[in-house]
Amino acid sequence: MTVQELPGAGASHRSTQPPAWSPRTDAAPLLPDPEPYRVLGTEAADGLDPELMRRCYAELVRGRRYNAQATALTKQGRLAVYPSTVGQEACEIAAALVLEEQDWLFPSYRDTLAAVARGLDPVQALTLLRGDWHTGYDPREHRIAPLSTPLATQLPHAVGLAHAARLRGDDVVALAMVGDGGTSEGDFHEALNFAAVWQAPVVFLVQNNGFAISVPLAKQTAAPTLAHKAVGYGMPGRLVDGNDIAAMHEVLSEAVRRARAGGGPTLIEAVTYRMEAHTNADDATRYRGDAEVEAWKAHDPVDLLERELTARGIIDEAAIQAVRDDAEAMAAALREGMNADPVVDPMDLFAHVYAEQTDRLREQAAMLRAELEAEDQS
């Protein structure tokens, strides 16, 4: 007896046509390239804009010097902690350079360099890490959102801001930065989904630096690449060499242009490497070997650009020296700014909780004031 011959089998065949439904079929253009996009050291470098590349070089050298100075400040006890971006400077600089003045940057705690490259005073950028106040600048003045310590939670903010700007008819793009570990958070997913559904003018930049503190990418995700995640939301995913500032600038610019023109969000995965530990509180030798670090050292973002520009005669020894002198001056100013003891006002504890203080806070403020006066008198 076959299935067709079973009693009642004929009846069940009558209404088997499922309701019409079909998935989107235009997913192919959303998929990332199989290899990270590169410009430096390839034929594509013939088309480099010398002026832009000189600017990128100067910013990279400054960025490297900034990283060194900030790390030194933690050793001197001037900063509580510093999450280094040595090795990732090309991502940080390119993110800042592709934005127009009216655009917004949404950095994570590691992205102080991007904020500095956007024009923020380094001392203001490091206030959070120094510990005198959480945010050392007015976000509206610089169009830089507060550095976000919780992972990926700033991404939905970027979406909301970009959406609001578009509703108002303003020409504003939001660029939000997150690490490879942050892509595992729910807020990453929700932000990308909202952005794609709303076609918000947002660019998501993932700096895949290999580790979420100690956990390597392979234990973070089973996706082919982080850029592949884009297709699930219906936005393009781009895979780019995060140590190649020419490639970073090109891919980010294209995404910003697309967002500005109403084309919606883009997810960019920059493949890079964190040369130093997560912060000075971390011991990177426990989870990775020297050979890996050395291999990445040979692919350093500053050296990569310096070689290319020197070979092409775009910069020479004198230009390199001038850039280094400029970086030294920046570092000296940062040292000086940080050596001044910040003045903190204990009464600030109560000043910015609500627009108007509650009775409860007034009472507690009075208690603290009395304690301070008692200390002064003793």
């Binding site: 106040w133 959480h134 945010t135 007015d138 976000p139 509206r140 003045e141 959102a145 507060p146 919780p150 939670t153 991404l155 939905p156 903010h157 970027a158 979406v159 909301g160 801001l161 970009a162 959406h163 609001a164 700007a165 509703l167 108002r168 939001a174 729910g186 807020d187 929700e190 932000a191 989904n193 909202f194 559904v197 600030d348 000043a351 910015h352 909780v353 609500y354 627009a355 509650t358 009775d359 409860r360």
Partner: protein, 322 residues
Amino acid sequence: MAQALTRAMRDAMAEDPTVHVMGEDVGTLGGVFRITDGLAKEFGEERCTDTPLAEAGILGAAVGMAMYGLRPVVEMQFDAFAYPAFEQLISHVAKMRNRTRGAMPLPITIRVPYGGGIGGVEHHCDSSEAYYVATPGLHVVTPATVEDAYGLLRASIASDDPVVFLEPKRLYWSKADWRPEAPAAVPGIGKALVRRTGTSATLITYGPSLPVCLEAAEAAREEGWDLEVVDLRSLVPFDEDTVVESVRRTGRAVVVHEANGFGGPGAEIAARVTERCFHHLEAPVLRVTGFDIPYPPPMLEKHHLPGVDRILDTVARLQWEN
């Protein structure tokens, strides 16, 4: 009350183009409780937006919108559905003004239908106010009357600080003599109100428990108790003076709420009343609250929720003789 809430949003949206309503189902459907009914039609989908189903994303996007100068009014659909948004609420919404030294206040209203008594199934009846009141930087308000539903929601939307606006679901359908054509003056956030004057003891309550307390106060007359009933209306800020004044007058106090007793708002209120009224008290401050259990299934909820009998039994215990 439902109509008053709708009207409050409608009036706010009409007066201020930066007011945007957003959430799951708030547009075409008008919300699962129909509180946003008609707003999308009147103001367009850009100002009353059906979002993807993701509470962290909804509130997180609202943060960004507020950063850009809008006044988002977010609907969380049900108390227990708001929990995925807690990180956004606590780490960003509550702290942004403070983090930025006042440069970036977030005028967001977060509407949370809360509490039980409607026969809702699991995860639809939590009284989650203790989580909110424990978070500095948030205002927490809850109306118990139709007039307050309108007035407090208007005040919340107008506030430059984030407000968690707790809507007692079981009062959504309560009717009162309220004329929507002439809305009452907007009471500020942070003012409690004596709803019933009395001399023998004060019942301190808010939201869904107010009608229960008023009923208990009527019933208590037969026992010779003349109860005063204070409606807090705002949990943060907490209007201590109105409460203290009442308790000093009556000498006895009972705090009544649906939320679990341990670590609930009643614990804080009882402590504050004790600190400030110690010499006026004839008995310890007592509490009538939900049990310290996960919210029960609908067929058992009547045993959990503070009812008139439990309130009266507790009032009887105020005849302190130890």
